[in-house]
């Protein structure tokens, strides 16, 4: 049987729910994983004890885990992580860590896995224009896309053991620059509403922001919007030269659906498109397509959602 290890996904000092999806991925490889929780304070690992389908929880405790440093994290995790196939989330930080860990162990890494079948792993390539299925001989580190695998159960009570570890930190954080708004970043959000050139001007993004705040969503943008308007920063850009996102829900407003935009969002679980042009390519990828101007559709969307959320 293949031994598997899950590295818990830590976001803002807590075990992120996507960790339960990583456990399902490990189960698909045929085993109950040990879940390693990188933490500065071992009580954080209690957040993983409820997951079912695991062999146990290992709190890897070190000051290294206070700020992210790829070298320090990889060293400290490597020291305490059992041998086997190691599974991480495919978030930007965890992909970085996955590559470090694999290199440290002299094994290979397979990123962005969206399917596991008979031990073979499938990931999108060419920005999702094709899929690649690979087989492993020996151990590897595997990162798994969020919102693809079902979550394992959360009514368990696994045993948590604590082990101290350490690693040499190479970089030093000088300052954090918090975003002006406390809205989520597109890379972190489970729901994203994005605007394109069809929004007409940057002030009109306020309509998207209002809906985002109703839903607890992030606001994204197409490259045309980012390139045309200084007010729309590149950090909002979704696509080939922006961020790759996998939210549960992606709402594209006034975005045509160019191949480079699709590259960043086509693996979203549900896609809603609002566009005045019935022939816009985005509609071929939409679960729900509304042919209308945003001026017409957004106020109705906003009021319906507000009523639902109230």
């Amino acid at each position: 049987m293949t031994e598997t290890v899950v590295i818990a996904e830590i976001v803002k000092g807590a075990v992120h729910p996507t960790t339960a999806e990583l456990i399902t991925a490990a189960n698909a490889l045929g085993s109950q994983p040990v879940v390693v929780v990188p933490c500065a304070d071992a009580s954080l690992a209690d957040g993983a004890a409820k997951f079912t389908g695991v062999a146990g929880i290992l709190a890897a405790k070190s000051d290294v885990f206070s700020d992210y440093d790829a070298a320090g994290w990889a060293a400290a995790l490597d020291a305490v992580t059992p041998a086997g196939i190691i599974i991480t989330s495919a978030s930007p930080q965890s992909k970085d860590l996955a590559a470090r860990l694999a290199a440290r162990r002299g094994i290979s890494v397979v990123q962005d896995v969206v399917k596991i079948e008979s031990g073979n792993l499938t990931s999108p390539i060419y920005s999702g224009k094709a899929m690649q299925t690979v087989s492993l001989s020996g151990n590897a580190v595997v990162s798994v896309r969020p919102n693809v695998f079902d979550a394992s159960g959360n009514d368990g009570s696994a045993n948590v053991s604590v082990v101290d570890t350490s690693g040499d930190v190479a970089t030093a954080v000088q300052e954090f620059m918090a975003r002006a708004s406390n809205r989520l970043d597109v890379a972190e959000a489970n729901i994203i509403i994005s605007g394109g050139r069809g929004m007409g001007n940057p002030e009109n993004f306020s309509h998207l922001e209002a809906i985002a705040d109703t839903l607890g969503a992030a606001v994204g943008a197409s490259r045309a919007a980012v390139d045309t308007w200084d007010e729309i920063p590149h950090s909002m850009q979704v696509g080939q030269t922006g961020k790759t996102v996998n939210p549960n829900l992606y709402i594209a407003v006034g975005i045509s659906g160019a191949i480079q935009h699709l590259a960043g969002m086509r693996s979203s679980k549900y896609i809603v498109a609002i566009n005045k042009d019935a022939d816009a390519p985005i509609f071929q990828h939409a679960d729900y397509g509304i042919v209308a101007t945003w001026e017409e559709a957004l106020p109705i969307l906003q009021s319906t959602l507000s009523a639902m959320m109230a």
Binding site: P92, A99, Y126, A130, A170, M177, N182, N248, F283, I300
Partner: protein
């Protein structure tokens, strides 16, 4: 004076249609370009040279056809171009091992690369290479300032972080706010004459093998509506049918 390396990769143009022939992608008819993020890495490497003096070496791994991406880098302004000769489909372990042996032999101070290549999208090469070399690394940087150490800006939960990076280090570049320079006529002429330094290094066996390539599963046709009033129904369906809000 800094000894600067930039890693570049040739990939299909992002507009290209990807087709299969049997169970493998067939790229024979596809135009190849420098991976978009590598353009930011090249620009950052050139800015580093301008700030501190030194030389920039562009490295790619591939067969002779990949010389074109090195010539493109040369036309933009790098000093030296190196191709690590290799025909095979390498896994990350094999690829990074080859790069690590060449980068060590060049005694570099810093390696820049794109945050991920447009073909695999993996983003493993920068951090993996750094680990093999025992160097610091930061990925997804949107700004780099040069000095005895680098000061980079990279996304962090809730915003960005400014991070000091001791050299030697590997920096994987996201787009950020820099404008990439384009080749000029003189650069293009120099690139034509430039000699590619072809190196052969030992390759460890790959432990990851490609089983098959396939087209993405077709998405079932969605529901479509005319007119903005439908937004109310869609909102309901997002809750009751899709269960996403």
């Amino acid at each position: 004076m800094a000894n600067i390396i930039v890693l570049v990769k040739q990939v299909p143009d992002t507009n290209a249609r990807i087709v299969l022939s049997g169970e493998r992608v067939d790229l024979s008819a596809v135009k190849k370009v420098m991976s978009p993020y590598d353009e930011f890495a090249v620009e950052t490497a050139l800015q580093h040279r301008e700030a501190s003096g030194g030389e920039v070496t562009a490295i790619t791994v591939g067969a002779a056809g990949a010389d074109k991406v090195l010539k493109d880098a040369k036309a933009i302004g790098v000093d030296h171009i190196v191709r690590i000769d290799c025909d095979d489909n390498l896994d990350s372990n094999a690829l990074q091992s080859m790069l690590a042996s060449v980068v060590s032999s060049l005694e570099a101070d810093v390696v820049y690369c794109g945050k991920s290549a447009a073909d695999t999208g993996a983003g493993s090469t920068g951090p993996g290479l750094a680990e093999r070399l025992g160097w610091a690394s930061v990925s997804n940087t949107i700004s780099v300032a040069f000095g005895d150490q680098l000061s980079v800006i990279t996304p962090s939960s809730g915003g960005n972080a400014r991070v000091n990076v001791p050299l030697p280090a590997v920096i994987s570049c996201d787009k950020g706010d820099i404008k990439v320079r384009k080749p000029n006529v003189k650069g293009i002429m120099q690139a034509k004459r430039a000699q590619v330094d072809v190196q052969s290094v030992e390759v460890p066996a790959s432990t990851i093998s490609i089983v098959t390539h396939s087209m993405p599963p077709a998405k079932p046709a969605g529901k479509s509506y005319e007119g903005g009033a439908a937004a109310a129904e869609v909102a309901q369906l997002l809750r009751d049918e899709a269960n996403v809000i």
